[in-house]
Amino acid sequence: MAKKFSEILQEVKEKLTSADTSKILTEIKVDFLGKNGVVTGLLKGMRDLAPEERPLLGQQVNSLRSQIEELIKNREEAVKQRELQKKFQDEAIDITLPGKVGELGTLHPITMVKNDLIDAFSGLGFVVYEGPEIESDVVNFQMLNIPEDHPARDMQDTFYITDSILLRTHTSPGQVHVMTSSKPPIKVMCPGRTYRSDDDATHSPIFHQIEGLVVDKNLSLCDLKGTLEEILKHIFGKDIKTRLRPSYFPFTEPSVEVDVSCFECGGKGCKLCKGTGWIEVLGAGMVNRKVLKNCGIDPDVYTGYAFGIGLERIAMLKYHIPDIRMFFDDDLRFVKQFK
C-alpha cells in the first residue's frame, strides 16, 4: 500500500513538472483529487479493509491528499506567475506615444508680461484700472500738461478721429481718470492698448503699456525708485540694479528714465545692452503739480509719482524677441513657444 502511495505521489510530481497552464493543472487536480480521481479511488478501496484498519488508511489517504494539494498549489502559483508575466508582455504598450490630453494653448507674451506686472504691483497694494482706448484730446494731452501744439506732441504721433477725439497715445490718461474720480491715497496701475502712427522694426502703431500712479502725502523720488526696483527685480531677477537719469515728460517733474543693469551680462557689457551694461526699460517721474491741480488734487498737500512701462519692450527683453512686428503677426510657430 505504502508503495502505491509513493508511486501516486511520484506520478503527480512528474505530471506537475510538465504542467505549464492552469488548464492542465485543473486536469491534474480532477485526475487525482476529483470525485472519480485516484485518491478518491483509494478511499473507495477502504470498504475491503477491516474496520480497525480503516482509520489508519483514512489518515494515510488524507495525508496523501494534502501532500498532493500542497504540490498542486505550489505549482499553481508558479504557473499563475508565468501566465501573468505573459499577459503583461502581451499588454505591453509604447510608453513614448503621446499622451491623450489635448494640446495646451498659450497666452500671448504681452498678456504674460501684463499678468506678471499686475501680480507684482498687486502685492504692493496697486489696484487695476482700465480706461478707454478712444480718448478726448483734453484727457490724453491737455490735462497732462501737454497743451495744443506743444512740442511734446511731436514725441507722440497721434491718430485722430475728430479734432478733439483720438486714439490714446499712452496709458497716462488713466492717471487723469483715477485722480478725477477718487481721493488719495491712490495706488493704481492702468494696463492697455496704446496707439501711435509709427511702423518699423522697433515701433508698432499699436502697442501696450502699463501706467502706474501713486498719490499720497510725503512721497519722494526715493519711493519711486524703491517701487520700481522692487517691480523690476520681480521681472528681471533679484540681482539687477536700477539707475535713474534725467529725462523729460510734460506730466512729471522731475522726470527720469529708468535703466536696469543688464541681466544678460550682469553689467559687464554685451550685445543686448550694446556694451553699456545698462538697459533702458521705462520712463517715470514725480507727478507734475499742474497735473495734480488739473485733476482737483491739492499739490501742496499731496505728491505723486507715475511711471509708464512698455509691455512689448519688456517682453522683447525677457523673451529675446527680435522684432516688435512678431507680436502682431501671430505666426503660430511664434505664439506656441509661450507655453
Binding site: I161, S197, R243
Partner: protein, 797 residues
C-alpha cells in the same frame, strides 16, 4: 543736436577731460550722446610736398614720374596719372604707411616697373571739401595755394580732424539746441567758467530807424522783433573756419551774410534772417497776420496762398517773408546786395508749428522756432550776428537796433523752503551744494533760514516751480544719491485685479487649456474686410481715422472676425496647417458719426480653429464649456443662423431672448475663397461684454436621490433630417418627472436601415428621490416617451 568739440571748446575749457568723461557727464545730467562721430580720425601721414620734377613714365603713356621734396621725408619719387600737377606745385602726398580718410593704407610699390614712394591726394582722399580748402571739392589732385611747410601733416595744417557729439536734447530744453547752450551745461558740469562769444562791433553813423520803421501788429504771435541795418555789404565767401563749422553741422556754405545767419542759429540758437534792403518798399517792416488769399513766393521758389492764421513780415505793399519759416524770393540776399536788414525775432512756437505743417514748408529756422526761442536769446543772437559782420569786414553796422519788445525782461523768482525740495527728492542735499549747483547753472540764488530764493536765467523758460529746481539740483548732484525706499510714509492699500479681470483671466485660461492660442491683432481694419465678409456697412456707424497709416488700417473695428480670420489665413499660407486661436479685445461702437462723444468699447471674444481634426463641434464645444467655466447663469437658446460670411447650414447662434449673444460655425467657403483659402475654418464671435454681466451663477446645492437609478437604452429610427434637439424636446414633452438624464450615445446611418432614415441611440436614466422605482413604473415612463416621440415620427428600432 550736433556739437563739434572743437567749437564747444571755444566757450568752455574741456582740455582736461576725455571724450568719454564728457559723454558720461552729459549723460548723467540729462543729455544723451547718441553718437560720437570721429571726423577724419584715421587720416595720417599725408604731408605737404613740392614737385621738383615731372617726367613721362618710360612704359606708360598716361603715367608720370615725379620727384617731390617731402621735407623731413626727403626727396621721394612718386608715380602718378594726375594731369593737373606741374613742377613747382605744392601738393598733399600720402607717404609710405599713410592712411587715407576712407581707411586705405598707402605703401611703397611699383607702377609699370617704376618704383613709387607715395601718392598724390585730392580732397576726397584727405576727407575734406571746398569748405575746408578752395579746390578740395574737385576730383583732381589738390594744389595748395599757400606756402605750407614741406613735410608737415596736412591734417594739422588744415585742421581737418574733429569729434562731433550728436546729442539728444529733450523737448523742455530748447535753450540747449545750440553750441552755446550745451557749453552752458558743460560749464556747470565741469565747474568751469563760460566764455561768451564776442558781441561787440564797431558802429557807423547811421541809425537803423533812419532807414526803416518796424511795427508789430500781432504782439501775441511775435513778442519780440529786432531789426538792424547794415550798409556797405560785400557779398563774398565766408572764411574757411566758418564754412568748416557749418559743414560739420550739415549746412552748405552760401555767402558771408547767409552763412552768418546759419552760424548764429547754430552757435547761439537764434534763427536770423537777412533782407535785401532795396527790396523792402516804403522803408518799412510790418509784422502782421496775412490777408486771406495773400500770396508769397519763398526762397525755394514755391508759391503759397495765405490766410489769417499765418504771420508774415511785410514791407509797405507785400509779404517779404513767412515769419519764422522762410524768406521771400524777392527780398533774399543776392550777389549785388549792398544793404541789409537783419531780423532776430521770437515767433510763437505753436503758430509756427501749425503753419509750417499746414503749408508743408519747413526750414532750420522753423524747426528751431517750433522747439521754442526765448526773447533773451534774440538779443544775443542779433548782437552776435552784427559782431560777426564787423569782424569779417562784411559791412558797416548801424549804431542802433530797433527792438519791438513786449517782453518784460524780468527774471522769474522762485522762493521755496529747502525742506520741500528735500521731501520731494527724499534726500537732503547740503545747502552749499544746492547753491553751488544753481549758481553754476546761472541761477542767482541764496538760502536764508532754510528758505531758498532763486532767480531763473531768462533762457530757462522751462523752470517754473520748485520741482523744476529740485530736478536741476538732483541732475547735477547725481541721481545715484537717490536711495530705494518702499512707500515708507504712505498708507497701506489693498491691491489686485477687479472681478472683471479675474473672470477675463479665467476665460483666457480655459481657452488655453483647450488648445487655443491667444493672438493680438490691430484694432483697425480695412473697408475691404467688410467687403470680403459681405457685411453691409451702410447700417454700421464706422469710426474712421483721420490720418490712418493706410486705407487698410483706417476703420476702428466693429467685429473681431476679419482680424482673427486673417491670422488663420496668414498661418495657413505659411503652411501652419492646423491651429486654434482666440482674441479677447474691444470693438468700437459709435452712437453717431461723426463722433460727438466717446464711443462704446465692447469686449468681444473671437475664436478660430482650422486643420483636419476641427469641425463645427470644436467651436460649439469650447463655447459651451467656456460658459460653464464662467458659470453663465442665463438660459440661452440655440438657433440656426444666417450670415453672409458663414456657412448657411453649419452655423448656429445663441440667443438671450431676442438678443443674439454669439454665433459660431464654419466660415462660408465663398468668403474663405475670397481670402484665398480652400480649407474649412471654424469660427465663433461672442459678445463677451453682454455675457459678462451674467457670470458667476450662484450655487444652491440640490438634494440627490438615495435610491438606485434605473437606466434604459432606446435606439430610435427617425427621419434623417430630425435633429437631436427635436428628439430631446419630444422626450421632454412627455413630462416624466423622474427622468433625470438623457444621453445620446450613438448615431447610425447605413446599410441596416432605410436610406432616408437614421438611428439615434439614447440612454435614459430614471430616479426618484422618494423610493426605488419599480420596473412597471419605468416601463410606463418609457411607453409615454415613445408615444411622445411618435409625434416627430421617431420609433423604436
Amino acid at each position: 543736436m550736433r556739437i563739434p568739440l572743437s567749437w564747444l571748446s571755444e566757450y568752455v575749457d574741456i582740455s582736461d577731460v576725455t571724450k568719454e568723461q564728457l559723454r558720461d557727464g552729459l549723460f548723467s545730467c540729462g543729455f544723451e550722446v547718441e553718437e560720437v562721430i570721429e571726423v577724419n580720425e584715421k587720416v595720417n601721414k599725408i604731408v605737404v610736398c613740392k614737385i621738383l620734377q615731372k617726367t613721362q613714365h618710360p612704359g606708360a603713356d598716361k603715367l608720370f614720374v615725379c620727384q617731390v621734396d617731402a621735407g623731413k621725408y626727403g626727396v621721394l619719387q612718386i608715380v602718378t596719372n594726375a594731369k593737373n600737377v606741374q613742377e613747382g606745385d605744392i601738393v598733399p602726398v600720402a607717404v609710405n604707411g599713410a592712411t587715407l580718410a576712407d581707411g586705405t593704407v598707402i605703401k611703397n610699390g611699383k607702377l609699370r616697373g617704376v618704383e613709387s614712394f607715395g601718392m598724390f591726394c585730392g580732397g576726397e582722399e584727405i576727407g575734406i571739401t571746398e569748405e575746408y580748402y578752395d579746390g578740395a571739392g574737385g576730383d583732381s589732385v589738390l594744389i595748395f595755394h599757400d606756402d605750407f611747410p614741406l613735410g608737415e601733416e596736412v591734417a594739422e595744417l588744415l585742421d581737418i580732424k574733429d569729434t562731433v557729439f550728436d546729442i539728444s536734447v529733450t523737448a523742455n530744453r530748447p535753450d540747449c539746441q545750440s553750441v552755446l547752450g550745451i557749453a552752458r551745461e558743460v560749464s556747470a558740469l565741469l565747474n568751469k567758467p563760460l566764455k561768451m562769444p564776442s558781441l561787440c562791433y564797431s558802429q557807423s553813423q547811421v541809425k537803423t530807424e533812419d532807414k526803416i520803421s518796424i511795427s508789430v501788429k500781432d504782439k501775441e504771435l511775435c513778442p519780440r522783433y529786432m531789426g538792424a541795418y547794415v550798409s556797405d555789404i560785400k557779398i563774398e565767401k565766408s572764411p574757411k573756419w566758418m564754412q568748416r563749422r557749418l559743414y560739420l553741422m550739415g549746412i552748405r556754405a552760401i555767402n558771408n551774410v547767409v552763412d552768418i545767419t546759419n552760424y548764429v542759429l547754430n552757435e547761439i540758437g537764434q534763427p536770423m534772417h537777412a533782407f535785401d534792403y532795396r527790396e523792402l518798399s516804403g522803408g518799412e517792416i510790418v509784422v502782421r497776420r496775412a490777408n486771406e488769399g495773400e500770396k508769397i513766393v519763398t526762397l525755394d521758389e514755391k508759391e503759397f496762398s495765405l490766410n489769417n492764421e499765418v504771420l508774415v513780415i511785410c514791407d509797405k505793399d507785400k509779404p517779404s517773408a513767412l515769419a519764422g519759416i522762410m524768406g521771400g524770393l524777392g527780398s533774399g540776399i543776392k550777389d549785388d546786395t549792398t544793404e541789409i536788414i537783419f531780423e532776430a525775432a521770437v515767433f510763437k512756437r505753436d503758430n509756427i508749428r501749425k503753419n509750417s505743417r499746414k503749408l508743408n514748408q519747413r526750414s532750420d529756422s522753423s524747426a528751431r522756432f517750433e522747439k521754442g526761442v526765448d526773447p533773451y536769446t534774440t538779443e544775443i543772437g542779433m548782437k552776435r550776428a552784427l559782431s560777426l559782420i564787423d569782424s569779417l569786414g562784411a559791412g558797416k553796422v548801424a549804431s542802433t537796433i530797433i527792438d519791438q519788445n513786449s517782453f518784460s525782461g524780468e527774471k522769474k523768482k522762485i522762493t521755496v523752503e529747502l525742506n520741500k525740495i528735500y521731501k520731494l527728492l527724499g534726500i537732503t542735499v547740503p545747502e552749499e551744494t544746492v547753491i553751488g549747483i544753481l549758481k553754476g547753472l546761472n541761477f542767482e540764488c541764496f538760502a536764508e533760514e532754510g528758505k531758498l530764493t532763486a532767480l531763473v536765467p531768462l533762457y530757462r523758460e522751462d523752470v517754473e516751480d520748485y520741482p523744476d529746481l529740485a530736478e536741476e539740483i538732483i541732475r547735477m548732484y547725481g541721481y545715484e544719491h537717490i536711495n530705494c525706499t518702499l512707500l515708507k510714509n504712505s498708507e497701506i492699500t489693498h491691491g489686485g485685479r477687479t472681478p472683471y479681470q479675474v473672470k477675463e483671466q479665467t476665460a483666457k485660461d480655459y481657452l488655453r487649456y483647450n488648445g487655443f492660442n491667444e493672438v493680438v491683432t490691430y484694432s483697425f481694419i480695412s473697408p475691404k474686410d467688410y467687403q470680403n465678409f459681405g457685411i453691409d456697412t451702410d447700417e454700421l456707424k464706422l469710426i474712421k481715422l483721420k490720418n490712418p497709416l493706410g486705407e487698410d488700417l483706417s476703420i476702428m473695428r466693429t467685429t473681431l472676425l476679419p482680424s482673427v480670420v486673417s491670422v488663420a489665413v496668414r498661418n495657413l499660407n505659411k503652411k501652419n496647417l492646423s491651429g486654434r486661436i482666440f482674441e479677447l479685445a474691444k470693438v468700437y461702437i459709435a452712437k453717431e458719426i461723426p463722433l460727438t462723444e466717446l464711443p462704446e468699447e465692447r469686449a468681444t471674444l473671437c475664436l478660430a480653429a482650422f486643420g483636419e481634426k476641427e469641425d463645427f463641434f470644436t467651436v460649439k464645444g469650447v463655447i459651451t464649456g467656456l460658459l460653464d467655466c464662467l458659470r453663465y447663469s442665463k438660459k440661452l437658446t440655440l438657433k440656426g443662423s444666417d450670415k453672409p460670411f458663414m456657412h448657411p447650414t453649419r452655423t448656429a447662434s445663441l440667443f438671450d431672448g431676442e438678443k443674439e449673444v454669439a454665433y459660431f460655425g464654419q466660415l462660408s467657403p465663398l468668403t474663405a475663397e475670397k481670402l484665398g483659402i480652400d480649407k474649412p475654418i471654424y469660427v465663433a464671435e461672442i459678445d463677451y461684454a453682454y455675457l459678462e454681466s451674467s457670470f458667476d451663477r450662484e450655487i444652491y446645492v440640490k438634494n440627490f436621490s438615495k435610491f438606485p437609478s434605473v437606466e434604459r437604452d432606446l435606439a430610435l429610427v427617425c427621419e434623417k433630417s430630425t435633429t437631436n434637439g427635436e428628439i430631446l424636446e419630444a422626450i421632454a414633452s412627455a413630462r416624466i418627472k423622474n427622468l433625470v438624464s438623457v444621453e445620446l450615445f450613438d448615431v447610425y446611418t447605413g446599410d441596416r436601415i432605410l436610406d432616408n432614415k437614421k438611428s439615434m441611440a439614447y440612454r435614459l436614466t430614471f430616479s426618484s428621490n422618494e423610493k426605488t422605482l419599480e420596473v412597471e413604473e419605468v416601463d410606463n415612463y418609457v411607453r409615454k416617451i415613445l408615444k411622445a416621440l411618435e409625434n416627430i415620427n421617431a420609433k423604436l428600432r
